[in-house]
């Protein structure tokens, strides 16, 4: 492979204990309702639950039938019903309907609601309002941390993003704090905590409070450094199309809880196959962080190697053959199967992407990031809206960069968008504006000195027709200024060899270093925020760095937990892995959810059906 792991990278801690912990607690909770019972599971808890306990484990603890929560009347003959749900009002209301329906029919059953990872007061209020508070017992399953891979831990709370950043609803803050507390209690104590963002700060404080309340035991730290970052610090990165293999698979096939479903076009059969994507898959492990353009070459090399290995059979005597069959063949077959799957996936992705003018899309994105050829980009976007090509994705990204567009351009794009996709997207635009992804430039706003200087710099470089659009661009998004300060966009005149990445920009074909990861790199390098004052100012502050006076242990110090509040993308994870190999760190990503551009924008849609 292109990059060999540096010898001094420390070992990652073992996260399987988290699974055991969650399983044991769930079993304990199930046993609180002795006897046979039917279990109703919230739809989006199905996959996470699968990773923790399989059906036979549940059956062992007297779960009779399993149902998915579907907001329909239930058909269950059991006299004990257990609901395993997220603390969502909608779901609680459904449970109330179930109970009240039973009551009306004169059936008397026992009900138990297990909220995970915690219950909210609002949920109990609903139970009370619906008059069934006394009929149901409630419990909490503190299932915060789901290890998806050896370096990814997921909270599986996609609603964190919308609730926190769009609705301003902070109820998940304490959840974040509790998750960090759980992690800390097993793998801490942390000696350094850095963070940026309002939510990060609050999560940090919530965690501190929980540490203060609880007992402290002196332990050998396994993870010594923590970095907390809000998703709204960097919206640019998740909005970019992903070109690293794992990210691309997520963009196209949607990885769900570490598992992807490859359709018939990939498997070249009439069946779909569900595949776990993690470091256990040897083939995947080698290509997950690679730029897509390298993947084919790598896979064909791999195929040749495999062939050679198979070919060894020829000219073997019986004894050698026996060893071959018993020792190597199974592994080869397994590898063969995986290899053909990933080749199939790559082909399928290739097809899809060329069909959609993938190259043009990338080119446009890169132009936007660099800030050149804006007119062309606008017409590209316009064309896509008019042709209804890519649903939603492109529009906000471009609009984000065009924060300073003349109101005319902005409006015409918006109007065309509504014509294409319907007037209900007025609300989507309102949400995007609320979130700060889309900033409407008020006519007549004056520029500060710094920003007009910025505008001039840009002017010198580019053709005059872009002037207006640009000078005001700096006003709100600050992205351009940040990009310059942190050199996020490498000089475009140099050739970038994607096979031998120089920096994290390789994850975007060498066009852009993800802001989030760059911040992490800088802070770790500087051991704090000193020297980054201008950057934090542009990011609206809320940065912090806390150092505990523990004797630093060099190994634990170099294992860094990065907590993304509001989700992170596979590309960012790849970038961090790259950074880790370069600097001798190991990163562990703790995220509220895995996100990508489509998920981010979907979170902004209002469902009113």
């Amino acid at each position: 492979m292109a990059h060999s792991a540096r010898r001094d990278s420390p070992e990652l801690p073992d996260f399987s204990v988290l699974k055991r912990l969650a399983r044991d607690q769930l079993i304990y909770l199930l046993e609180q309702l002795p006897g046979k019972k039917d279990l109703f599971i919230e739809a989006d808890l199905m996959s996470p639950l699968d990773r923790i306990a399989n059906v036979s484990t549940l059956k062992q603890h007297e779960v009779d039938k399993l149902y998915k929560v579907e907001y329909k009347p239930v058909v269950s003959t059991s006299d004990q019903l257990c609901f395993l749900i997220r603390p969502r009002i909608q779901t609680v209301k459904w449970v109330c309907d179930v109970v009240n329906a039973d009551k009306a029919a004169g059936k008397f059953k026992r009900y138990k609601i297990i909220f995970t990872p915690q219950k909210f007061y609002a949920c109990e209020t609903v139970l009370e309002e619906q008059g069934i508070f006394g009929d149901v017992s409630t419990d909490e399953w503190a299932f915060y941390l789901l290890p998806l891979d050896e370096d990814i831990i997921n909270l599986e709370l996609p609603e964190f993003f919308r609730d926190n950043f769009l609705e301003g609803d902070q109820r998940w803050v304490r959840t974040g704090g509790s998750a960090l507390h759980l992690f800390h209690s097993i793998y801490g104590p942390f000696s350094k905590v850095y963070g940026i963002g309002r939510c990060s700060k609050m999560v940090y404080e919530s965690w501190r409070e929980q540490v203060k309340e609880g007992e402290q035991k002196a332990r050998q730290a396994e993870v010594g450094t923590v970095f907390l970052i809000d998703r709204d610090v960097d919206f640019v990165t998740p909005l970019c199309s992903q070109v690293v293999y794992e990210g691309l698979v997520d963009d196209i096939f949607r990885i769900k809880c570490g598992c992807v479903e490859f359709g018939p076009d990939v498997t070249s059969s009439d069946k779909s196959i569900k595949v776990m994507l993690n470091s256990q898959d040897k083939v995947f492990n080698e290509i997950r962080n690679e730029h897509f353009s390298n993947v084919f070459g790598f896979l064909s090399q791999k195929a040749r190697n495999l062939q050679t290995a198979y070919d060894k059979r020829r000219g073997m005597d019986i004894k050698q053959m026996k060893t071959f069959v018993s020792e190597e063949l199974k592994g080869l077959k397994q590898e063969h199967r995986l290899l053909s799957l990933h080749i199939g996936a790559s082909e399928s992705m290739m097809k899809k992407k060329t069909k959609q003018d993938f190259q043009e899309l990338l080119k446009t994105e890169h132009s936007l990031l660099e800030g050149f050829e804006i007119r062309e980009c606008i017409s590209f976007i316009e064309e896509h809206i008019n042709r209804q090509v890519s649903y939603l994705k492109l529009c906000p990204l471009s609009l984000y960069f065009f924060t300073g567009l003349l109101p005319k351009d902005y409006r015409s794009l918006k109007a065309q968008y509504l014509q294409s996709y319907g007037v209900d997207h007025l609300l989507t635009f309102a949400n995007l504006k609320q979130l700060g992804l889309l900033v409407e430039q008020q006519p007549g706003e004056t520029l500060t000195v710094m920003e007009s200087k910025m505008g001039k710099l840009v002017n010198d470089k580019t053709a005059g027709k872009l002037t207006d659009a640009f000078s005001s661009l700096a006003k709100k998004s600050n992205f351009r200024a940040l990009s310059r300060r942190l050199s996020l966009v490498p000089k475009s005149d140099e050739e970038y060899d994607l096979r031998v990445p120089r920096d994290m920009a390789y994850i975007f074909s060498g066009a852009y270093i993800p802001l989030s990861c760059k911040l992490i790199e800088q802070v770790l390098e500087r051991d704090g925020w000193t020297g980054l004052e201008e950057v934090t100012r542009l990011l609206n502050g809320h940065e912090f760095a806390v150092t505990a006076d523990l004797r630093p242990q060099s190994d634990a110090q170099r294992i860094i937990l990065v907590m993304f509040l509001g989700g992170c993308t596979f590309s960012e994870i790849s970038a961090l892995r790259f950074l880790g190999r370069e600097r001798g760190y190991k990163f562990i990503v703790l995220t509220t959810a895995i996100t990508n551009s489509a998920r981010l924008i979907e979170a902004m849609l209002d469902n009113h059906v």
Binding site: R171, V173, F296, E382, E383, Q388
Partner: protein
């Protein structure tokens, strides 16, 4: 059985010259003295009922310091008693029990049952058990009622006793087998009353000629029972009535005024103290009787390891001499401890005899034992000089030992210092070492706190190195709770004083102190104190209680606990009128967002009101847009959308207003066509509508939309292009391409044809494509050569590269 003479094992120690000044002594008084050196309560002439001269209730410390004194204005009192928490119980004739604290302030009351009001309480007893402090009464209708724990009041009416009229001749409360029972005598018959039954019992070996049991007493530990009969016999035995210990003839026929067990734990020689008007008798198991003449009226208080005898002038402790003290102080004792004491005495006199004594102990290898004895004996001694002598001797002996652990010595020194301090008459807690060990430091601290000896309590905590949360913090908490009740100080002064002392001691909750202040009606002080509370979450419940809802809300927000915020919001919603409620929320964005989220799911209409109140036209308009999708009928949908338009206009969002108006227009148009042609358009976007129209061949209508809605040319061309290609109307397409210059160029023509796999048609348009798109166009129709030519012509490396990219990959896999 080894048997001493009586005066060898019974010791009378003077504890205090009483500080009180009782004019009439203890005559005509109801007296209650609590064990463990507890306080003494007196009610003079309890039966006096005229309003002009009421009985006086007085409370003293064990040493006779007055703590409280006030006239008794409530009903006639039958019995006084103390709880384990140093609270005074006054049991009235009508069954009401009033609870006062040490300083005579009324705390609360409860009743022993409704029926008691009629039948009246004849007698009552206060007793202590592992469950707390209990009260037992017997009523005029000869029925017993029990409450095992007055802090968790559950009244139990015991079964009737056959043949009992009025009060029994004597009775006692027993705690056995985790059950509380009553033992009573009716003449010569003895009964045990428990929850469900009344059982007749007979003590083994009681003389048959007894015609009545006139007095009974249960030991401190509920293990032993003493019965006094009308024949003057004292029977002692186990409380289970299984064994008899002894029977002594006192030769006195009238019943004693008081009868109390006097024994220490694990003692061999339990004895009973009997008191008559002029006589105190100690009757032991060995049939020995010691008599003490009594000059004044006394009260006996049973303790864990002895009996306190309180008279109007002094207080004495009657105690069985601990074995170790007997051994040391027995005349001519050869016990190692005694020898060590002697050795030390000689040593202090600089006499060589010291060495002889020491050698004698050492020869028997008893020096360790000697030191241990001296230390233990010191613990039991009440006299400070003796304590010192014994400890010095122990310390002296310790010097000759190499591997003797100093722990017990150090602990005893510390504990004695504490005990001596609390025994001081000023404090008045005459505790023995055994009692101290039994009650623990925590309880001692509590007792000191109840008596408001805060500095002493803190000193003791620090001296004994008690962990803060059990020690200093707890004292400070009590102190502060008491301090806030001082009426003569200003709020400001108290808050400052509290903060100064309490600081940020771990385990002291300011919200707790503030709650106390609020209970005493000092709201302002409570708020000041709450400010010091570090955990804002803790402040909220009290603030709500004090009706400082605004403040509660902001504190809840500060705490970051959304559940708490939500609690306050719910509370406010019910407490305030809608307008004020919304106004309050407006100032708290966090709470507002939270409430909005809730309303979105639960109360859509409230959401509207909320936006209305804030004149948030933009959000209101968005709300209407959302709401429009819930309307099934087109008319109502349109009217809701009209409201949205109005609100958008008010919000000066012309763009959105226009877009919504367009939508309304479109909806009407769709409905019309649906009605006329059954096109099924309603709800589609403009683009989708046009697409559908074109697909249905309704070109005229599509054209109409194109004009009416000012659809950009480009969009319309794309639409038409796609639609024609889809229907493979190639001629129409060609005509269309020539209708005017294409706003979208001609490359799309090539591409749509190729999409339908019509290379022939596609090639028609390649020539029309401008040079910069030529390569692409050629590639689209699969003409690699043409593409390459075009690229070379344009001398574009990038485009050359694109050709190569499309060329079949060199490596096949």
């Amino acid at each position: 059985v080894h048997c001493h003479t009586a005066d060898q094992y019974t010791l009378k120690t003077e504890l205090y010259e009483m500080c009180w000044n009782l004019r009439d002594g203890l005559r005509d008084c109801l007296v209650a003295a609590a064990p463990y050196g507890g306080p003494i309560a007196l009610l003079r002439e309890p039966h006096r009922r005229s309003p002009s001269s009421r009985p006086q209730l007085e409370i003293y410390s064990a040493s006779g310091n007055s703590l409280a004194s006030f006239p008794w204005k409530s009903g006639p009192v039958v019995q006084l008693g103390w709880t384990v928490n140093d609270e005074l119980l006054c049991i009235q004739e009508d069954g009401t029990v009033l609870i006062y604290d040490l300083f005579g302030s009324f705390k609360r009351h409860f009743s022993m049952g409704q029926e008691v009001v009629q039948s009246q309480v004849l007698e009552a007893k206060v007793f202590h058990s592992p469950y707390g402090t209990g009260v037992a009464i017997v009523t005029g209708s000869s029925r017993f009622t029990l409450a095992t724990n007055i802090d968790d009041l559950k009244l139990r009416r015991l079964p009737e006793v056959p043949g009992l009229q009025g009060a029994p001749s004597c009775w006692a409360v027993l705690t056995q087998d985790r059950q509380t029972k009553v033992l009573l005598a009716n003449g010569a018959d003895l009964f045990i009353l428990d929850n469900t039954s009344c059982t007749a019992v007979s003590p083994p070996g009681l003389s048959p000629q007894v015609s009545s049991i006139v007095h009974m007493s249960v030991s401190f530990s509920y293990k032993y029972l003493a019965l006094f009969t009308d024949t003057g016999h004292l029977w002692t035995g186990s409380a289970h009535l299984q064994d008899k210990l002894s029977e002594v003839d006192t030769k006195i026929r009238n019943p004693p005024k008081q009868m109390v067990w006097c024994r220490r734990p694990k003692s061999q020689q339990p004895s009973v103290v009997l008191m008559w008007d002029r006589l105190l008798l100690v009757a032991g198991v060995c049939n020995d009787i010691i008599q003490f003449p009594v000059e004044e009226q006394c009260v006996c208080v049973g303790e864990l390891d002895g009996v306190r005898v309180v008279s109007s002038s002094r207080q004495e402790l009657l105690q069985e001499v601990p074995l170790v003290c007997q051994e040391i102080f027995k005349i001519a004792s050869m016990a190692p401890g005694a020898l060590l004491l002697e050795a030390h005495r000689e040593y202090e006199k600089c006499s060589q005899k010291a060495d002889e004594y020491l050698r004698e102990i050492k020869e028997q290898s008893m020096l360790g034992e000697a030191v241990r004895q001296c230390v233990e004996a010191a613990g039991h001694e009440y006299d400070i000089q003796t304590q010192k002598t014994l400890l010095r001797a122990a310390s002296f002996g310790k010097c000759f030992l190499t591997d003797f652990s100093p722990d017990s010595f150090v602990a005893t020194c510390r504990e004695l210092r504490v005990l001596n301090a609390v025994r001081e008459a000023g404090v008045g807690l005459p505790l023995t070492h055994s009692q101290f060990k039994q009650m623990t430091v925590q309880v001692l601290i509590d007792r000191l706190v109840y008596r408001q000896f805060y500095p002493l309590a803190i000193e003791i905590c620090r001296y004994l190195k008690t962990p803060d949360y059990q020690g200093v913090s707890r004292v400070l908490k009590h102190w502060a709770s008491c301090k806030v009740q001082q009426k003569d100080l200003s709020d400001e002064a108290i808050a400052r004083a509290v903060c100064l002392k309490v600081g940020d001691s771990a385990g002291v909750s300011y919200s707790h102190i503030a709650a106390k202040a609020y209970e005493c009606g000092r709201t302002e002080l409570a708020i000041k104190l709450l400010d010091y509370e570090a955990r804002s979450g803790e402040q909220v419940p009290l603030l709500l209680k004090m009706k400082r809802s605004q403040l509660a809300l902001s504190k809840a927000v500060e705490s970051g606990d959304t559940d708490l915020v939500y609690t306050v919001v719910t509370y406010l919603k019910n407490e305030m009128n809608r307008g004020d409620f919304f106004m309050t929320l407006r100032n708290q964005p966090v709470a507002l967002s939270l409430y909005r989220q809730f309303c979105k799911l639960q109360e859509q209409d409230t959401l509207k009101d909320l936006y209305n109140q804030d004149d948030d036209h933009q959000e209101l308009a968005n709300y209407y847009v959302t709401a429009s999708y819930r309307e099934k009928r087109l008319e109502s949908r349109l009217s809701v959308l009209q409201s949205a338009v109005d609100e958008y206009n008010k919000a000066k969002n012309e763009f959105a207003a226009k877009a919504t108006e367009d939508e309304m227009r479109l909806l009407r148009f769709q409905r019309k066509l649906d009605d006329e042609k059954g096109a099924g358009l309603l709800g589609l976007s403009l683009q989708a509508t046009m697409e559908a129209l074109l697909a249905l061949g309704l070109h005229k209508q599509a054209e109409q939309l194109y004009r009416d809605f000012r659809v950009p040319d480009k969009r319309y061309w794309w639409l038409k292009l796609k639609s024609l290609a889809e229907k493979e109307e190639w001629e129409e397409l060609e005509k269309f391409s020539k209708s005017k210059k294409s706003p979208i160029g001609y490359l799309p023509f090539v591409e749509v044809c190729m999409k339908r796999h019509n290379k022939h048609e596609a090639k028609k348009y390649v020539s029309k494509v401008p040079p910069e798109q030529k390569v692409k166009a050629h590639l689209a129709v699969g003409d690699l050569e043409g593409a390459a030519d075009a690229a070379i012509e344009r001398r574009s490396e990038a485009e050359m590269g694109r050709c190569l990219l499309v060329a079949p990959p060199p490596t096949g896999c």
